[in-house]
């Protein structure tokens, strides 16, 4: 990044507007304002709302890339508005639109219901077969560091929905489960504490499932948390193939349980050092 690109200057923001009570199709409004170094797109929107257009609507919350609320189509790529610095876009015109492949509720607000519905469909929770241990737990389920590392990357999903906006298959197939749900299906299926692959097959091993993915990689490029959904989908495909030919990973009915007494002992062993400052 050259110094020239991050020089504070006047930037034109082309913001897509849509009010279902008034408009039949969206249109773009332009706002020109001075942008300083470090200013994010979200901050720019706040300034536009405060100074120029009080009716402008969008969704945001944490402003630090954790909640995943402020996903927008910024200069034709899905990004989090709070993580995107205006001057780093290296353009004097910044186009902001709502995330594509979702219904547009108002201005920059997408309807993320399909994302949540697809996520819920793949049973995003640990499925056990030992109901007795669930109802009357005798301890905690063990997971080694290696086992944790094999899924850790995929646990960072914040459900911002950028991957579905980037996915070319979702663009034409509304029923495609999409990168988010499929990545989470792998995240739970690969968890050593989970025995739910066959319980999820009904939801994931379908025509609109992982084999609709042709590895465009757009989801991984768009993901603001480095989850790499395209990678998880390929691993899910491998899991399904191996399972279908009988070479699937044989999981015991349940991960090993660490008795509660040992859990307490382990916690004591990893207790923080004594205070040195009173």
């Amino acid at each position: 990044m050259t110094d020239k690109t991050i020089t504070p200057r006047e930037i034109t923001f082309r913001v897509r507007r849509y009010d279902p009570d008034v408009d039949t199709v969206p249109h773009f409004d332009e706002y020109r304002m001075h942008v300083h170094d470090g200013m994010t797109v979200l901050e720019a929107l706040h300034q536009i709302k405060a100074e120029k257009e009080p009716t402008l609507a969008w969704r945001s919350s944490c402003r630090m890339g954790v909640c995943g609320s402020c996903g927008m189509f910024i200069n034709h790529l899905p990004m989090l508005a709070c993580q995107t610095q205006v001057l780093h876009l290296d353009s004097d015109v910044v186009t902001i639109a709502p995330l594509p492949n979702y219904e547009n509720v108002k201005d920059l607000v997408p309807n993320l219901e399909p994302l949540i519905e697809k996520h819920a469909a793949i049973k995003p929770f640990i499925i056990h077969t030992n109901s007795k241990e669930i109802d009357e737990p005798t301890g905690e389920f063990l997971q080694s560091v290696k086992e944790r590392e094999s899924i850790s990357q995929f646990t960072h999903c914040i459900k911002c929905g950028l991957c579905l906006a980037a996915c070319p298959t979702v663009a034409t197939d509304p029923l495609f489960l999409g990168p988010q749900a499929l990545a989470q299906a792998y995240r739970y299926t690969a968890d050593n504490r989970d025995c739910g692959l066959h319980g999820r097959l009904e939801a994931i091993d379908i025509f609109h499932g992982p084999y609709q993915c042709h590895l465009a990689g757009a989801c991984s490029q768009a993901c603001p948390k480095g989850v790499d959904p395209a990678f998880a989908i390929q691993l899910l495909k491998r899991t399904l193939v191996l399972d279908s030919i009988g070479f699937g990973k044989k999981k015991s009915s349940l991960a090993k349980v660490m008795p509660l007494a040992d859990v307490v002992k382990a916690i004591e062993e990893f207790a923080p050092p004594p205070r040195t400052v009173k």
């Binding site: 849509y18 509720v105 465009a216 395209a230 390929q234 691993l235």
Partner: protein
């Protein structure tokens, strides 16, 4: 508010969503190529059945059709068909390799700047696409300069 008015705008990109790759990566363009070549091959299969059905119209009609296919424009179309088939097959091999989890690396903690599996398997992508390009060139030379 008019109850018949839609409460939301359908913002699905549709065909444009997969035909236009914009600022996305190389693999996103391969996705377009894979789908377009696949559709092209399906269209060829249909036309091929129509073409061979002409045999039923007699020897003369068939010979006439064969003479037409030997003309330069059809040579070029034949070559494009060959190129589509090669690209689709080679990219298909790449997809099968990745679908079985090879050349993608291992999952790792996402620490910024993130490394994606797409970048990790790009050397394989370049090798396979290089092979496809070579086959297409060699095939063209044997087709046009037998």
């Amino acid at each position: 508010m008019n109850s018949n008015k839609p409460t939301a705008y359908n913002n699905r990109l549709g065909i444009k969503g997969w035909v236009y790759a914009g600022n996305y990566t190389f693999e996103r363009y391969l996705y377009i190529g894979h789908r377009l070549s696949g559709l092209g091959l399906i269209a060829y299969m249909v036309l091929h059945i129509v073409e061979t059905a002409n045999r039923m119209r007699g020897e003369e009609a068939w010979q006439g059709l064969m003479a037409l296919f030997a003309s330069p424009p059809f040579k070029i179309i034949e070559y494009l068909l060959f190129a589509m088939a090669v690209f689709h097959a080679m990219n298909g091999v790449r997809l099968i390799i990745t679908e079985l989890g090879f050349f993608l690396g291992k999952p790792k903690e996402p620490v910024y700047p993130y490394s994606s599996s797409i970048k990790r398997h790009r050397p394989l992508t370049f090798v396979i696409m290089g092979l496809a390009f070579l086959i297409i060139i060699l095939g063209g030379s044997s087709l046009f300069f037998p």
